[in-house]
């Protein structure tokens, strides 16, 4: 059984915004029934140019439905420019994370959003024909490049988890490897904004930030925080003292601790509370 978060289950069992808007401002159709998942997404703007309504229809597994539901919730009230900045990682984070093998569901949500925005700006509903790398699942070179860049993927298996490319006959594995090599070398040539962070360095920086920036503020209110583990971008912490029994500690963790860690350590960190 997949290890879905409660939030994924909630958005699957009680999906928000199912349906289709008549006369939408932007519309997109991504995926196909043969691939195993597909998404039709429509949105409408209000008079101030903010997204008033967003609706989806999904064929796919629980996480595909949950990702589409989450995406439509996230973008309501955003301008088109703001919505264009939503990444697949944002969608996954909103759901409290997705199993690695299911990350392609969040990518599908982001693709639909992006395409619907392009449609709003005048592009056709279906993206124009592009160079297909994975014939089995119809994944284009552009999609693969983008997933590699945005999620810093380094192996063919990761690319498959995020885009499905290479998950069928596997004939395209050498091409995917070439794309990875090319993208990685480009990324290392332009290290400016986001140097790669080793795990040890990441954990150290998290420790330091907790010690320097976060603990003093919490202790001021009689609370404390302890780092339990770091798994990928998930920072597992336990709260102590007043924080442990505080009603607002969820808010504190998200709005203060996570925000600080994202600002000072790594922009994709997610703070999760564990009992330890």
């Amino acid at each position: 059984m997949w290890d879905y978060t409660d939030k994924v289950k909630d958005h699957f069992l009680n999906p928000r915004n199912v349906g289709e808007i008549e006369d939408p401002d932007g519309v997109a159709e991504v995926g196909s029934i043969a691939c195993g998942d597909a998404l039709k997404f429509t949105f409408k703007l209000d008079e101030n140019g903010r997204i008033k309504e967003a609706k989806f229809k999904t064929f796919g597994c629980a996480s595909a439905i949950a990702s589409a539901s989450a995406m439509t919730e996230m973008i309501k009230g955003m301008t088109v420019e703001e919505a264009a900045k939503v990444t697949n990682q944002d969608i996954a984070n909103y759901l409290g994370g997705l199993p690695q093998e299911k990350m392609h569901c969040s990518v599908m949500g982001r693709e639909a959003l992006e395409q619907a925005i392009a449609n709003f700006k005048g592009a056709p509903v279906r993206a124009e024909e592009e160079k297909i790398v994975c014939e089995c699942f119809g994944v284009t070179e552009k999609e693969i490049e983008r997933a590699i860049r945005e999620n810093r993927l380094t192996t063919v298996e990761e690319v498959t988890n995020y885009t499905k490319a290479g998950g069928g006959c596997e004939n395209c594995h050498p091409i995917i490897q070439e794309i990875i090599d090319r993208e990685l070398s480009q990324m290392s040539e332009a290290p400016a904004e986001r140097p790669k962070l080793s795990n040890i360095r990441k954990i150290k920086m998290i420790e330091e930030t907790l010690e320097r920036e976060i603990r003093p503020a919490l202790k001021h209110d009689g609370g404390d925080i302890e780092l339990v583990d770091v798994v990928g971008n998930r920072v597992l912490v336990a709260t102590r003292g007043a924080c442990a029994s505080c009603q607002a500690s969820d808010q504190t963790l998200k709005n203060f601790v996570e925000a600080k860690l994202r600002e000072l350590v790594w922009p994709e960190l997610v703070v999760e509370e564990v009992s330890a």
Binding site: F12, G36, D37, T58, I65, T160, G167
Partner: protein, 393 residues
């Protein structure tokens, strides 16, 4: 919530009679059957009895029964032994719909200098016996074909296939994990050389299996160690599990009729009602030659994982051949081998019943399932199109 357990091809409940028979062999009668003292010796008596019970179920003689740890071990032991006993032959014949225990092993052996022929199946999951005949060569060391398919329940004509192998002096192994206890098997009347079965599919515990090896068949052990199982499988006997499996075999023999009347009746009612009440559904596999407890139904335009998780909310347990549930991105290899279109394969659900299921449970599923399919179809971008297509057709 008591589960409505319709996933018996995955594993089964241990029968209360089986558990009861096993319990004394943990804390009281824990002796080693190989010991010289009578404390161990009395356990040996019970292991012998279990061997007789298994032999009776299969129509075999007790010395043809080797206890193993599971179906996978039995499959591995059988195929590797066949290859070891005819080292000059390098060809294996199997099918595209085998369980991974055979399929993955053959794929591995293909990298070790063996040639593997995977026989295709038709849209109903049936073998083409002409093609099978042509696949058998003088270089073929072993044929390994499953008796009944775990996903669809489709039964292969194993006795006939074994006969054709025998005529060419080729060893024949069958993975009968799903067939044993559900359809009558009498190995004395067949030319089958080796057969695998697994305890936990017939109400014995997990971690116990059997490999039947016909008397006179050359055998080379898979687990080399002590003298247990007459030197054919080293390792101290899992006494309590073996004794439990013996009781399970006896129960299975007694309940074979119930499988083919009561259980089959439940399955047929479930299947027919679903087909009649839910549009765009289809049974996968040959409905004639099929296990009495299994049905594999495709629900078009929806995805299996969603169906499973929504049924799970009501405690209904089943499984799916969809890609999303397998961890891979493609639907089950069995449905693909049958050429089931992806649109159908993604929405396939397998219900597998046992003698412990009831009429009330079928009513419950029949009540809960159609609204689940409706909910998911209303969410699906393909559903409307599909319904329109149907009306047009």
């Amino acid at each position: 919530m008591k589960p409505v357990y319709l996933d018996n091809n995955a594993t089964t409940q241990v029968a209360p009679e089986v558990l009861e028979a096993m319990l004394p062999y943990f804390c009281q009668l824990y002796g080693n059957p190989s010991s010289m003292h009578s404390f161990g010796g009395q356990v040996m008596q019970q292991v012998r009895k279990a061997r007789e019970q298994l032999a009776a179920l299969l129509g075999a003689s007790p010395q043809e029964i080797i206890f193993t740890s599971c179906g996978t071990e039995s499959d591995n032991a059988a195929i590797r032994s066949a290859l070891a006993s005819s080292p000059d032959k390098k060809h294996i014949v199997t099918s595209r719909v085998e369980h991974p225990a055979v399929r993955a092993l053959c794929a591995h052996l293909a990298t070790q200098g063996y040639r593997v022929t995977e026989l295709p199946v038709d849209g109903e999951g049936r073998l083409d016996m002409q093609q099978y005949r042509r696949a058998l060569t003088t270089d073929t060391a072993i044929v390994s074909l499953m008796w009944a398919n775990n996903e669809t329940g489709v039964i292969f004509p194993i006795e006939k296939a074994a006969q054709m192998a025998r005529e060419r002096r080729i060893l024949f192994h069958t993975d009968a994990v799903q067939a044993v206890g559900k359809i009558p098997i009498n190995l004395a009347d067949t030319p089958i050389d080796m057969l695998s079965l697994s305890g936990h599919k017939l109400h014995a515990p997990k971690g116990i299996g059997v490999l039947y090896v016909r008397k006179g068949t050359k055998f080379s052990p898979f687990l080399v160690g002590g003298h247990q199982e007459r030197g054919r499988r080293g390792g101290t006997e899992a006494t309590s599990s073996i004794i439990g499996l013996g009781v399970a075999a006896e129960l299975a023999q007694k309940k074979m009729d119930i499988e083919n009347t009561f259980v089959k009746g439940l399955r047929d009612r479930l299947e027919n009602t679903i087909l009649n009440t839910v549009a765009n559904t289809k049974v996968n596999g040959d409905r004639e030659n099929r296990l009495p407890n299994t049905t594999n139904i495709s629900f078009e335009f929806v995805e299996g994982e969603g169906i499973l998780l929504m049924m799970d909310e009501f405690g209904i347990c089943a499984s799916s051949g969809s890609a999303c549930t397998s961890g891979s991105l493609q639907p089950s290899h069995v449905l693909r081998a049958m050429g089931i279109p992806f649109t159908m394969a993604h929405g396939s659900i397998r219900f597998s019943l046992s003698v412990y299921n009831t009429d009330e449970e079928m009513d419950f599923v029949i009540e809960k399932l159609p609204p689940i399919i409706d909910t998911l179809r209303n969410m699906s971008p393909y559903w409307k199109t599909g319904a329109q297509l149907c009306r047009e057709a």
